[in-house]
């Protein structure tokens, strides 16, 4: 009952938020060209102002450095390509990491089912992405609305171009992030890098459903959610024709697309899924925290590919393996370190003991929060964002304990709250390649809020519909008896431990 009330209030909040945002968006339409050019105009401004101050000596220099160099043809950069191949594999490794992270936190009768939630997402999304997902997210925009891609790249069509069928001679389509510089990587590498993101995003949601969801319902959900929620969101935010990209929304590595969307969707799914049998009175303590801590380590390791690899889509740069990747790498080290500490200390003061699970959760919260900001902020800002991440997400899970809704493994508490916090803080702290509130750009904060509310509302409502339809057709939950027996036995006919 409380859960329903709580969710209803969240919905109201989102709706209430959408009204002014829609109004702002309307206003923004007039000012849209100004907003879009803002990021490029700002770095140009100092160079324009400098010659004005020292007009005479700079006269000769000013015409020699035109504000925008002409577009150049893409040239394959093997260094960037090598880094992106490694990054893709690193992001893939996060998924078994997530399986360990979640698997250790459930009861021992559900460990395999929880692992399978992550692993089967690799299977389903791996196929979906090649067949249709990449095209929906990164294909040519349909109707110029910036909402979704078309079917032009189904089966990764066009990424490998046959030149000479007789000899098998091929050419690889190139992905050039920034048209003013030549650096490019094969588009098929880019497609695979993005594939890993799609896989892990839907697996993140499984944390809210653990220990009671029916496996068949979960599999269908993975396919439908990735197609109907993830692919459009990726198009909105990362595709150059996407409407949020055009608005100038900043999301370096997926704070909005990955974490916010999965966290909010987890909450929506819970409305129809309900609590675990016996929650919250029965003991549901994690069965193997060393697995969870190993998962935290693998997630952090893989996250370097997730964040530092995302320099490939960095603003105004074509370098995938350069300074920007280095910055993202640094912030991905600093923020989770600070967040692990701040969660640990908060817990130490608040409940008496610094727990291992607390430190690990803090690290993940820090990773989530720094994700949208990784290549936009200075190391100092990353430190602040990390400290904030641990405190905010610790508050988030305490709220859950109070409200007694059953987000088993805190998909919303960590990813939903952390993703939202990170996306908004990016609009505050951004100084590299973009400007945020602290650099005097209030507009950026508004754009971030629009992105958060739009993506959050879209993910929430589509997931609500998906969950409703699945509930009415095949049912979301296993029988009560099966739930008590454990999902390993009843869904997979296996046991995690035979000792």
């Amino acid at each position: 009952m409380k859960l329903k009330l709580y969710l209803a209030s969240v919905m109201l909040f989102i709706l209430a938020g959408l009204v002014p945002v829609a109004a702002i968006a309307e206003e923004k339409k007039d000012a849209a060209p100004a907003a879009v050019t803002a990021p490029t105009a700002t770095p140009a401004a100092p160079s324009a102002a400098a010659p004005a101050d020292a007009a005479k000596p700079a006269e000769a220099v000013a015409p020699a450095a035109p504000a925008t160099p002409p577009d150049v043809k893409p040239v394959l950069n093997t260094g960037d390509t090598a880094w992106m191949l490694v990054s893709s594999a690193l992001v893939l490794l996060m998924i078994p990491g997530l399986a360990l992270f979640y698997g250790g936190m459930v009861r021992q009768k559900n460990v395999l089912s929880t692992f399978m939630h992550s692993f089967v997402a690799m299977g389903i999304v791996g196929v979906q992405w090649a067949v249709i997902g990449y095209s929906l997210a990164f294909g040519t925009d349909v109707g110029g609305m910036g909402l979704i891609g078309d079917f032009s790249k189904t089966m990764l069509n066009g990424l490998v171009i046959m030149k000479d069928a007789a000899s098998g001679g091929v050419e690889y389509a190139l992905f050039q992030n920034y048209t003013k510089e030549p650096g490019a990587i094969p588009e098929i590498v880019f497609a695979m890098y993005q594939c890993m993101f799609a896989m892990i995003t839907v697996a993140l949601i499984s944390g809210a459903m653990a220990e009671r969801v029916k496996f068949s319902a979960y599999c269908l959900f993975v396919l439908l959610w990735t197609t109907l929620v993830y692919d459009p969101l990726a198009h909105w935010v990362w595709m150059t024709e996407g409407w949020l990209f055009k608005k100038g929304a900043l999301d370096f590595a997926g704070g909005t697309v990955v974490h916010l969307s999965s966290g909010i969707s987890a909450l929506a799914f819970l409305m129809f899924l309900g609590k675990r049998h016996g929650f919250p009175n029965e003991r549901m303590a994690p069965h193997n925290l060393p697995l969870t801590m190993l998962g935290v380590g693998l997630l952090w390791f893989g996250w370097f590919g997730f964040n530092a690899g995302s320099a490939i889509v960095g603003v105004n740069t074509s370098d995938a393996a350069g300074g920007l990747a280095g910055l993202a790498f640094a912030t991905t080290t600093i923020a989770p370190a600070a967040a692990g500490l701040s969660w640990m200390i908060a817990e130490w003061i608040h409940s008496g003991k610094p727990s291992a699970l607390g430190f690990g959760s803090g690290v993940v919260a820090g990773l989530v929060v720094i994700t949208p900001a990784a290549g936009f902020v200075q190391p100092g800002a990353a430190l602040l964002m990390g400290l904030m991440a641990g405190l905010v997400c610790y508050g988030g899970i305490l709220l859950k304990a109070k409200l007694k809704y059953d987000d088993s493994l805190d998909a919303f508490g960590v990813h939903g709250i952390g993703g939202t916090c990170g996306a908004i803080m990016t609009g505050v702290f951004a100084t590299v390649g973009a400007t945020g509130l602290l650099a005097g750009n209030f507009k950026q904060l508004m754009i971030q809020l629009i992105a958060v509310l739009a993506a959050g509302a879209y993910a929430f409502f589509v997931t609500l519909i998906l969950a409703f339809v699945l509930e009415k057709t095949i049912g979301l939950r296993v029988d009560k008896e099966d739930e008590i027996m454990g999902l390993d036995q009843t869904q997979h006919s296996e046991s995690g431990y035979n000792m």
Binding site: P280, K353, S355, I397, L398, A401, G413
Partner: protein, 112 residues
């Protein structure tokens, strides 16, 4: 003959065993058990969710002895298992009717 059952703190097991060896006890049966007494359980906290653990792990020792040794064994266990804090455990003394050594068929005091 008596059967002495002692419930002790797990970390005291080695000390108690050595002390009993020293007074010439030649056989002990040990099991890992769970329970609570005045010490009660403890609470565990996972991400803000609090669980009360009612039963805490203890060691149960069973020692069969002849009557003349009973007070010495009880005293030895009490001295070696004691920490002075709550939860040190209990010793029970039970009448033992018969004992048989399986290998030889000896019974009574000879079997102990």
């Amino acid at each position: 003959m008596k059967l002495i059952e002692a419930i002790i703190k797990p970390f005291k097991l080695d000390e108690v065993k050595d002390a009993l060896n020293a007074i010439g006890i030649e056989g002990i049966t040990v099991s890992e058990v769970k329970g609570f007494g005045r010490q009660k359980g403890h609470t565990e906290l996972y991400r803000g969710a609090e669980y009360v653990v009612d039963f805490i792990p203890k060691i149960k020792m069973q020692i069969a002895v002849n009557d003349e040794l009973v007070s010495k064994v009880v005293e030895t266990i009490q001295n070696s298992a004691k920490t002075g804090r709550i939860g040190d455990g209990k010793i029970f003394i039970i009448n033992l009717e018969e004992a048989v050594r399986i290998r030889t068929g000896e019974n009574g005091a000879d079997a102990i």
